[in-house]
Amino acid sequence: MPVIPVAGAERFANLPASPEETRRIVGDSLRLHDVDQATVDALDPLTYEVIRHRLTSITEEMGEALKRMSGSVVVTDCNDFDAAIMDEVGDVVQVGLYNTELAASLDMAANWTLRERCARPGIGPGDMFLCNDPWVGGGLHQNDVSLFAPLFVDGELFCWTGAVAHQVDLGGVSPGSWSVGGSDVFWESLPTPPVKIVEGGEIRTDIEDVWLRRSRVPKLVALDLRAKIGANNVAHERLRALCEKYGAGTVKAVMRRTMDDAESRLRAKLRELPDGSWTSVAHQDSARSGDRGIYKIVLKLTKDGDRLVFDFTGTDAQVDGLINCTFAGLRGGIMPVVLTMLCGDIPWACGGIYRCIEIISESGTINNATFPAGVGKASVASAWATMNVTTECLAGMLDTHPEHRKRLMSVCCGTWDFALLAGVDQRGLGFVTMLCDSMAGGLGARSDSDGVDTGGLAPIPMGRVADVEMNEFAFPMLYLWRREEADSGGPGRFRGGVGASSCFLPYDSPLGGVHLVVSAPGKALPLANGLSGGLPAGTQHDVLLRGTDIAAQFAAGRIPGSLAELSGSTDLLPAHHETDLGPDDVYYTHWQGGGGYGDPLLRDPVAVAADVVAHKVSPRGAEEVYGVVLDADYATDLDATTTLRAALRRSRAGVDDKEIPA
C-alpha cells in the first residue's frame, strides 16, 4: 500500500530554527534569558574553565542518575540513553558520552516545544515535556523517549536539560514496537509530540495514563519516566546553584563560549585538511518481512575551507516498511561520527558543531521520510546507514592527513542485530526484552591498528553487554555459546574488529517456548565497508534450527559447539521475521564486525598467524584472503606465504598471465 499523505502532518515536520527565528516566534509569550556578546568576550579563562568543567560534571551526573534509576536493560546495562544541557533555544552545550545518536536531535525537540507550546499550554517553572515523535525530534524512532525540562532563573527561561532513552515496548503490532510486517507508521507505536507530562514539579497522572496505556510493559515505562525526571531534577538543582554563585549571565556566557569554542576548534581542524569531496553509499536489504529489496543512501561530503556539506542527493525514495528515518534520524546518523572521529579532543557541544555543517537532503527519501512512513526501526535502519556512509566519507577525508588519519575508523558493526524475546519467564511473569548481546559488535579498523574485537557500536562510546548468567537469570533461555566469530572482521592490512554470535534455546518457561522477533539486515550484502582497499566486514547470519536433538545431547553429556553438531531442520532467517521458538528449537544469531583498512595482502603475516591462534581468522581465511601459509602449529611459513601472495595478487585481479615484481 503506497504511503498516502496526511493533511496536518506538516506541522510536525520539524526543521531546526535559528535562535533569532525562535525568539521572533516566542515573542512576548515567554521571557528567554540572553547574554550579550560583550559578556562572552569578557569571560576570563579561569571562570570559563571552572564553569565549563562543572557543566560537564552535571551532564555526567544526569547520566548516572538516569542509569541507576532506569529499569530497562538497554539503559542500565547497555548505555542506550543520553543526557544533554541545552541553552534557552535548545542548542546543545554539552552531551553525555552515552548513545550520542539519541542526543543528536534533542535540540530540535526542545526548540519545537518553545515555538509550538509557548503560548498554549505555556511553559513554566517545574514543567517537563515528553516526546517520542521522530518527526519533531528528541529521538530517532518512537522507542526513543525524551523528557526535556526548561530551567527558569529569575522568571526567565534560562536553559533546557534533556534525557532520552530507548523504551523496550510502546505498543504497535509486534512486541518491542518492532512491527516487522509493518508498511507505515500506523502499524507502529503512536508518535507523541511534546506533551507537558510534568507540570509545576508534579506528574500529571491523566497524561501519564494516556502515555502508559499503549505499552506492553507500562510499569517499566513508568519507572523510566521517573528516572528521566530524576535526571533533570539533579541537573536543575546543580545549575541553579551555579547561577547563584556566578550569576546567570556568566553561566550563560560560558555556555555560549563552549559552543563557540567547539565550533572554532572544529573549523581550525577542517582548515588543516585538503579541500575535496568524498562520495559513498550505504545499503540496507529488506524494508519489512517478505521484502527482498536493497535500498541505498548516497552521500557526497564536500569539505570547503572550514565547513562540511553533507549532500544526500541520489538517496532512494522512502519505502513501505519500518526502515525509513526522519530528518531527526538523518542528523542522528551524522553527529555521532562527527563527535567520535572529528571531536575526540574537542568539547561535545553539538550546538557549536552543527554550525560547521550544512545538510542537503530531499524530503520523501528513506533518510528524510514524510509522515506516515514507517520509522519504527529508524535508529538502527536508515539513521544507522546514514552513520555508515558518514563514517566512510569522513574517514576518507581524515585519511589525507598524517595526524588526523589516526582518528579514523572504517565502518563499525554495520547495524544492530535485533532479537526480541517475549513470553512468560521462569517465575511465571510476562516479559518483553531486547537481547542486547549484539552491542558487542566489531569496531572498524584504524589507519594504524586493528579495529577493536567485540568493541561496541559506533555511536555508543560506553556500550555494554550483560553476562550470560544475568540473561539466564532474568529470562527463560539457556545459552549454548556466546563467542567471537572468526572472519567476521573485515580483512585488511589492519583488520576490522570481529563481531560475535550467541546461540540459545528457550529454557524453563512454563509455556515451553518464547516468542521471537528478528530484525537484522546485512544478509544479502555486508554493511560495514572497508577503506583504502580493506574488505567489508562479514554478513549478518541468523539461523533457526527446528526440532533439534539438544535434549538427547545434554543427556549424553555433550554441549554442541556448532550448528553442524545439532540435528533438526535449518531455517536461514531473512532480515525481518517473527515466529515462536519451541523447547527443542535453537536460535543462532551472528552479528557483524567492522570494516578493514588497506590491502589484506599487505598485512603482517605474523599478525595473521596470531589471529588464527586467537580464532579471529580461520585457517581458510588466512590462506584465501590474506595469502598466509601456516604450518601445523600455526607458525607462518614465510617463503610459502610470499609465493602464495604473489599468486593471489594476480589471480584476484584476473591477470594470471602477467609477472609482478616481488
Binding site: 574553565e49 572554532s264 552491542m439 577493536v452 562510546p461 556500550g463 555494554r464 539457556l478
Partner: protein, 699 residues
C-alpha cells in the same frame, strides 16, 4: 611492653609506624627497594627501633603483630610479572574473557579518554587462547545439572595446560556459585593430575553471579597467589629468625587485614593494600576527634585519592577495576580522581586553559625539579604563588627552581593566553581547586550523601596546600590537616590501627522476600565459613563482630544496592524490614521517587563480613599546650585567592606550634613533610593531637 607496627610499602617510600599500649608512638620513612621490597621492610624496622631507642631484636620480640600494606600484588598485575595461568571454563564460554562484556574497552578510563573513542582498546585477554580449555558440563540458573561433568575430558585438558606451561590453574564455570559440585570435582582432578599447581576455584574466590568478573577475579587471583606466597614466606621466616613471635598480617583492599598464611589463597583481596591505609587512618583519627563523617583526600605527587567515612566506617564497594578488568573484590571505595601535584596545565587549540588530567609523574616531574620537565604543573604554580618554600620542599630534601617554574608557565600558559605569569598561576591554582571540588563532590553525591554533612581531611604532600580552597567549594564544616606524629606516615598509622576483616559472599538470585529459612540458612553458611577462617588466623581478638548485608535490586532495575541486614535469625516481618531498608537506601542514593516497589524486589547476593578486633589500639598522645599566641617565623608574599591577589602572609614553623594556637589567613604553615596554605577568611587552630583544624569565617 607490647608493640603494634604498621608498615606501608609504596612504589617510592616505605613508611612505618609503631605504638605501644601506653601511647608511645614513632613514625619513620625510608626509600622503597624494588624489586625486592622486603629489603626496605627490614631497613625500616631498624630505623623504627632506633627511633624508639631500642634494638630491632628487642622491638620484634615485644611486637604482637605487624600489619603490612604491600604493593607487591598490584605491582605484579600492573607489570605483568605473574604466574602463567591455565583457565578451565564451561564449553561455549571461553570467549567471555575476550569479549569482556565489551566494557573492557573503556572500563576505568577517564572521561577524556572515553571521549577519544577511536583510540580506545581492550587489554590483551587475561589468559591467551592456547592456555584456555572448554569443558563439557553445564549447570542452570537454579543450580540443577543440565550436562554432567566430562571427567576424562577435564583430565586431558589439565594435562594439556600443564604441558603448555601453566604453573597454576584457574577454574570458573557457569553458575558454579549456585552449585559448586563441578568446580570442586575439577579441583580434585587438578590435585591428581598436577599436584604442584596452585589452583583457584571461582566458587571459593568469588561466588558471585556474572561470569565475566567472576572469571577475571579468579584468574587474577591465580596469577598473583603464587607470587604473594613467594614474597611472604621468606619475609616471615626472616622476621622469625630475628626474634619475631607475633603475627604478620597483610592489609586488604577492604580496609581490614588477614593473616599472612591465609593471604595467598585470596591474594586478589590485597590489591588495594596500599590504597586503603589512608582511609583507615582517617577512620581511626576521626574516632579520636569525634567526627562521624569524613571525606578523606590524599593528594600526592602523581595521584589524588578520595574516600569516605560515613557513621564512623569507611564506605566500601563490592567491586573494582584493574587494568580495565572488572573485579569482584570488596574494597574501601577509594577514587583516583585526576592527578596530584604533577598535574600538567596546558592551553588547548581553542585557547582555553586546562589543568590535568595528564601528569608529569615522578619522572621527569614538575619543571621546578630541574629533572627535564618543561611543562608547567600544579607544583610549579604552588611554588610561584609563594605557597611552597623552595628551600623546604619535602623537608628540604629537594631544592626547587623558581626560574624553571616561571619559564614553563610563561611559555606554555601566560604567553598563549596573553596573561602575566602571576595571573596565569592564579588561574591554574583556582582551576585545579575547583575541579578537585567537582570531582570530590561527585564522589560524595554518587554515594548518596551531602558534602555539607562532612569534615574533610587532607593529607599527602600536596593536599594541605590546596585543601582550604577546594573544601570551601564543597561547603564542608571544617578541614583537618593531620600534623601530629602520624603526619608523615599517615597510612602506616592506619595499618597499625586496623582489624582483621574477612568477607564471605554467595549469590543466590531470587525474588524477595524469600522464605526466612532460606535466608537464615544462607547467612548461617557464610558465618560457619568465616568462623573457621577466623580460628585459623591464630590470633587473640578482643571482640569479633559480624555484619550481614544483601545486594538487592528492584526486579526491573539492574543496579544492586548493598543493604545491611541484622544478624541472628530473622522472621518474615524482619525480612519485610530489610526490604524497606533497601528502599530507603535506594532513594538516598538515587533520589526521592526513584524506587519502584511495584516492580517487586530481588535478592542477588548474600555477604557477611567478620571483624576481629585486635587487642591493641594505638592511642595518640596530646601535644604541648600553648602559652601565648603563635609567633610567625617570617613573612612572604603569597597569592592564595584570585579575588585578593598578592598579599603579605605570616609564615609559621609547625615545629614551634602548640595546642590552642590560632593562625589567621592569609598564612602558610611549614611542616616537615608538607605545607598548609590558609587563605584570607580561614582560621587554623592546632588541636590537642597537633592537627591543624581549619574553619571558615567568611566566604
Amino acid at each position: 611492653m607490647a608493640y603494634v607496627i604498621g608498615i606501608d610499602i609504596g612504589g617510592t617510600f616505605t613508611d612505618a609506624f609503631a605504638a605501644d599500649e601506653h601511647g608511645k608512638v614513632a613514625g619513620v620513612k625510608t626509600p622503597s627497594t624494588p624489586p625486592d621490597f622486603s629489603q626496605g621492610f627490614l631497613t625500616v624496622l631498624d630505623e623504627l627501633a632506633g627511633s624508639l631507642g631500642t634494638t630491632t631484636e628487642d622491638l620484634l620480640a615485644d611486637t604482637h603483630y605487624i600489619v603490612h600494606g604491600t604493593t607487591s600484588t598490584l605491582n605484579a598485575l600492573v607489570t605483568g610479572d605473574v604466574a602463567t595461568v591455565g583457565f578451565l571454563t564451561t564449553r561455549g564460554h571461553a570467549d567471555s574473557i575476550a569479549i569482556m562484556n565489551l566494557e573492557g574497552r573503556y572500563a576505568g578510563l577517564g572521561a577524556d579518554q572515553v571521549q577519544d573513542m577511536v583510540r580506545t582498546a581492550k587489554p590483551a585477554p587475561l589468559v591467551p587462547p592456547r592456555l584456555v580449555r572448554e569443558i563439557n558440563e553445564r549447570i542452570d540458573h537454579k543450580g540443577s545439572v543440565v550436562v554432567e561433568l566430562d571427567e576424562d575430558g577435564t583430565r586431558t585438558a589439565i594435562r594439556e595446560l600443564v604441558a603448555a606451561g601453566a604453573q597454576a590453574i584457574a577454574v570458573s564455570l557457569l553458575w558454579s556459585f549456585r552449585n559448586p559440585a563441578h568446580e570442586k570435582r575439577i579441583g580434585e582432578l587438578v590435585a591428581e593430575e598436577a599436584p604442584d599447581a596452585y589452583v583457584a576455584l571461582s566458587c571459593e574466590v568469588s561466588p558471585r553471579i556474572r561470569e565475566y568478573s567472576r572469571s577475571a577475579t579468579t584468574i587474577m587471583n591465580t596469577q598473583v597467589g603464587p607470587r604473594l606466597r613467594d614474597y611472604l614466606r621468606p619475609l616471615e621466616a626472616e622476621l622469625r629468625s630475628r626474634g619475631f613471635e607475633g603475627s604478620l598480617l597483610v592489609m586488604q583492599g577492604s580496609g581490614g587485614c588477614v593473616d599472612s598464611a591465609d593471604a595467598p589463597s585470596r591474594a586478589i583481596t590485597t590489591i588495594g593494600s596500599v590504597l586503603t591505609g589512608g582511609v583507615v587512618g582517617c577512620t581511626r583519627l576521626a574516632s579520636e576527634l569525634g567526627h562521624r563523617n569524613v571525606i578523606s583526600t590524599d593528594m600526592g605527587g602523581t595521584t589524588f585519592l578520595a574516600g569516605l567515612v560515613v557513621d564512623g566506617e569507611p564506605v566500601s564497594t563490592t567491586s573494582t577495576v584493574l587494568n580495565q578488568h572488572q573485579l569482584n573484590v570488596p574494597m574501601v571505595d577509594v577514587h583516583t580522581i585526576g592527578a596530584g601535584g604533577g598535574a600538567i596545565a596546558w592551553v588547548d587549540s581553542g585557547g582555553n586553559l586546562h589543568v590535568g588530567p595528564r601528569s608529569a609523574g615522578a619522572r621527569p616531574g614538575p619543571a621546578c625539579y630541574g629533572e627535564g620537565g618543561t611543562e608547567p604543573t600544579v607544583t610549579d604554580v604552588d611554588l610561584l604563588l609563594g605557597i611552597v618554600n623552595p628551600d623546604n620542599f619535602l623537608g628540604g630534601r629537594k631544592q626547587l627552581s623558581k626560574e624553571l617554574a616561571a619559564e614553563s608557565v610563561r611559555k606554555h600558559i601566560a604567553e598563549p593566553l596573553g596573561l602575566s605569569v602571576d595571573d596565569a598561576c592564579a588561574a591554574v591554582y583556582a582551576i585545579q581547586n575547583a575541579q578537585t571540588a567537582d570531582l570530590v563532590r561527585k564522589v560524595v553525591v554518587t554515594s548518596g550523601h551531602d558534602p555539607r554533612d562532612f569534615v574533610l581531611y587532607a593529607f599527602g604532600g600536596a593536599g594541605p596546600m590546596h585543601c582550604a580552597s577546594y573544601a570551601a567549594d564543597l561547603d564542608v564544616s571544617e578541614v583537618v590537616v593531620p600534623l601530629g606524629p602520624t603526619a608523615a606516615v599517615f597510612s602506616a598509622y592506619g595499618l597499625a590501627a586496623s582489624d582483621i576483616v574477612l568477607t564471605a559472599e554467595l549469590s543466590a538470585p531470587s525474588n524477595f522476600p524469600v522464605e526466612p529459612e532460606v535466608f537464615n540458612g544462607a547467612f548461617a553458611g557464610l558465618r560457619r565459613e568465616l568462623e573457621s577462617r577466623l580460628s585459623a588466623q591464630a590470633l587473640r581478638f578482643s571482640e569479633v563482630a559480624y555484619r550481614n548485608e544483601v545486594d538487592m535490586r528492584y526486579t526491573m532495575q539492574l543496579a544492586e544496592v548493598a543493604t545491611p541486614v541484622p544478624t541472628g535469625e530473622l522472621d518474615a516481618a524482619d525480612l519485610d524490614a530489610v526490604g524497606a531498608s533497601f528502599g530507603q537506601r535506594y532513594e538516598q542514593l538515587y533520589g526521592r521517587g526513584s524506587g519502584f516497589a511495584e516492580a517487586g524486589l530481588q535478592l542477588i547476593t548474600y555477604r557477611t563480613q567478620a571483624v576481629g578486633v585486635l587487642p591493641i589500639r594505638p592511642t595518640l598522645g596530646a601535644v604541648e599546650q600553648s602559652s601565648g599566641d603563635a609567633q610567625p617565623t617570617s613573612q612572604r608574599r603569597v597569592f592564595l585567592d584570585a579575588r585578593r591577589g598578592w598579599q603579605d602572609a605570616d609564615i609559621y614553623d609547625y615545629g614551634v606550634l602548640a595546642e590552642g594556637h590560632e593562625l589567621k589567613g592569609p598564612a602558610v604553615v611549614e611542616a616537615p613533610t608538607t605545607t598548609v596554605a590558609l587563605p584570607e577568611g580561614c582560621v587554623g587552630r592546632v588541636d590537642r593531637l597537633g592537627n591543624l583544624v581549619i574553619r571558615y569565617t567568611q566566604a
